[in-house]
Symmetry: none
Subunit: 156 residues, 2 copies
Amino acid sequence: MFLSSYESSVDLKKRVSIPASFRKALGGADTVYLWPSLDKPCIEGAGQSLMNEFEDSMGDLDLMDKRRFALATYIMGEARQSKFDEGGRIVLDAELLSNAGISDKARFVGLGDRFQIWEPAAFEAMKAEMRALALESLGLLKAKPRRPGSNPQAAE
Amino acid sequence: MFLSSYESSVDLKKRVSIPASFRKALGGADTVYLWPSLDKPCIEGAGQSLMNEFEDSMGDLDLMDKRRFALATYIMGEARQSKFDEGGRIVLDAELLSNAGISDKARFVGLGDRFQIWEPAAFEAMKAEMRALALESLGLLKAKPRRPGSNPQAAE
DNA sequence: GGGGATACCATGGGAGCGTATGGGCAACAA
DNA sequence: TTGTTGCCCATACGCTCCCATGGTATCCCC
């Protein structure tokens, strides 16, 4: 699971270190998938498993469904597979960088099944904007009844 | 279950001992999840099971739901997984400490399924404030006339 | 009940390792 | 050639893990 957030620097060769904990979350694989976010000025990234989920979900749509084509174009078409070096770094290409407005600092933000890479100031601004909504939405979590399968013992 | 409250000191390396009873509440696991409280100047913490509940609850929201994104950003993006050493200590990073205003003393407060870490004076202030509010609220309850449709049994 | 032994807990310090980051070099394309 | 890309080595710092110490509460035995 991608958790927490980290800031790392982009060097002259446009390389950034993927946070060590994110690399561990990828479970030993040496590649990540990256794509420009559809609706936000940032880069999104994930491992093989989320990519497979996308593929499966798309498989549920009709072959000629326009939406399928749109999704394929924007997700499959825009995604890149990046291999990181032994230092755990990847190279961000110019398109990804400019889409997110990143120059020399990049903030990695874990979102569970995926992560995002933001220009630090832009991330702070977005977060401030989201705060009220997050507070409201907390109620959604609390309202959830305990499911039969869960193990209450583990919390004690 | 996280119960009662304890005060422990933060050393030069920003380490704090997790109260022994809290460690027992984690049921043998050697990690805790920590995140800055969304609405209070303190740190919140919990074990794996509460984190799983968060993740599951979020999974119920639609992928493009703004609330899902807000929650993911504030919960997954802010939470850290901390492993404690054999002495039962964890390291608090600078962001968590500054958000809670903690310098050299930390008060652990059990809240059942999670716990909070406060700067001792801030905790006392909050408690005093809560007490006043609780007293006021009691007055409101007494003043309230019994409604016709209500069930007197349930209130007694 | 007093005294001591023991186990556990909180806290301090040090050493080794992993991570982040900079730079060099060769292969390849424009 | 010149710039770009992938691969490798080098280094410093910070963090994690481990060992050590002192204090306290509990239990047992005398």
